[in-house]
Amino acid sequence: MRLLATLLAGLMLLAQMAVAQNGPLRLEITDGVIEPLPYAVPDFVAENGSAGQYASDISRLIAADLSGTGLFREIPAKAHISQVTNFASPVQYADWKAINAQALITGAVSVSGNNLEVKFRVYDVFAGQELGSGLRFKGTTDGWRRMAHKVADEVYSRITGEGGYFDSRVVFVSEMGPKNDRKKRLAIMDYDGANVHFLTDSSAIVLAPRFSPKGDQVLYTSYETGFPQVFVLDVGSVQRRALQNQQGTMSFAPRFSPDGRNVVMSITQNGNTDIYTMPISGGTPRRLTNSPAIETAPSFSPDGSQIVFESDRSGTQQLYVMPANGGEAKRISFGQGRYGTPVWSPRGDLIAFTKQNKGRFHIGVMRTDGSEERLLTASFLDEGPTWAPNGRVIMFTRETQGASGGASLYSVDVSGRNLKKVMSGASDPAWSPLQK
């Protein structure tokens, strides 16, 4: 029954994608099973001697991005009939039609010193025409992965009509050691697990980092004073400061407002946890909820007007929505089990959450009024969803059970398809906005 719901949801998603673009190039759906769109990306042309390795690496990474979505299937080079040896030469459509490549991506790479230039074109093979116009990106050789991600984002957008998400990063908690003495450090990486950098050492427990809307700052919780406290860290300089330091309180579960000026978070006083807001620049936290229940995990709507959060005021953890300046909260979760860690989609249409029911954990999504709940995953322990910048993919923490159990990052399409592991020894992911 759930599988059917998931498939139907997948159908609806892809139907929207097919409508979003014009012309015959579209993602095929047969018998309720989504057929990934076949495409070819022959190795980009190296326009000078030192560009050879980059041309190959960039083409392979573009293919990894596209095929990694589960929506596209690459036709391997050994099946190609035409060889692309000159970026300017006309495309031999018949050769690509013959191997059923619906989309063709050609490109060229040139290197001069540390400077790297990538240009590319996308073709709708069966329409016999270019899809959009050729584009050129300039950067440096050490940023070649980002340039490949930018090309893949552009291709993805042109074919699906959706925004891309490949040129993005993820901040997370790197975990080492046994369960009862786990060492945790903040780390940042590309969305695909490449380029891991540590932002803190492991001398204090750190939890649940969250990006600022520009991606240049990270809010997180640290025990470096001995008590959990919200810190803000500059990603570039790795400088950090405690956001507030009220004696006898704990603060955690922080998130930025969409304009980046304010923070919402939980503060615990005398054992009671409520939601507060304060300017990122500092000041006195202002209370938004006032009940003896546990109120935590606040997340703004993308327009900044509302906050979704979890509360056990009804007796169990459930999801509520309230105005951003506080006031009456409306319960939106009514299914069986407990609901926590709600996160508003960047598109504004859905709320992702963790659900606990009958000893299992799920990542799910629902509309912002609580309707159309769909569970995307099930395991011993899944929690803490975060949205890709285009609102189509969710990353989360999966912890395996037992004495040797560990945490990993997984991603899943919002349709419930394409579940895959992104990184082992990691938890609490937060996806950045698309990089500029």
Partner: protein, 171 residues
């Protein structure tokens, strides 16, 4: 001053014990110390009723909770009553009460739940006469389990509040 003397004796005792287990000059080791006289007790050992070790083992430094609960059980109240009496006697100690949760729950909720548990312990101790400025609380949520199996036998030990003492008010 007497504390200093005792400390020196303790170090000497340990050195001698390493040489000969039969040496009775400085009293028995903690494992066989039940019948020994007051003068033979190693300060800071489990036989020293003013020690942290004694508090941990003989008074009981922790209480356990039911699933998703912060209400004190009858057993927990008995333990906390003993803790309160001990702290009333040993006024040079302060305590941080650490609240913990088992792994069945989301990270944020478990932090808040651990805080509730620590706070419940603090309120009980204050109600029994301990000055609230001697008691601090902190929650570790599910970050520091004691037992690491994924079964109720471990979970039950992890849903705990631990009273961690430090000599704090200057003796």
């Amino acid at each position: 001053m007497s504390g200093w003397t005792k400390a020196v004796l303790l170090v000497a005792g340990m050195t001698l014990a390493a040489c000969s287990n039969n040496d009775g000059l400085f009293g028995n080791d903690s494992a066989s110390g039940a019948g020994s006289g007051a003068g033979a007790i190693e300060p800071g050992s489990v036989n020293d009723p003013t020690s942290v070790a004694y508090f941990q083992q003989n008074v009981g430094d922790r209480v356990l909770f039911l699933v998703d609960q912060s209400t004190l059980t009858e057993e927990a109240r008995m333990t906390l009553l003993a803790q309160a009496n001990w702290m009333l006697e040993n006024t040079d100690y302060v305590a941080v009460i650490q609240g913990h949760a088992d792994e069945q729950g989301t990270r944020e909720y478990n932090l808040a739940l651990g805080a509730r548990r620590a706070s419940a312990v603090k309120e009980f101790l204050v109600s029994r006469g301990i000055a609230s400025n001697r008691l601090n609380t902190v929650s570790y949520g599910k970050e520091r389990p004691l037992e690491i199996c994924s079964a109720e036998s471990c979970y039950a030990q992890n849903r705990r509040a631990v009273t961690v003492l430090t000599a704090g008010l200057g003796s």
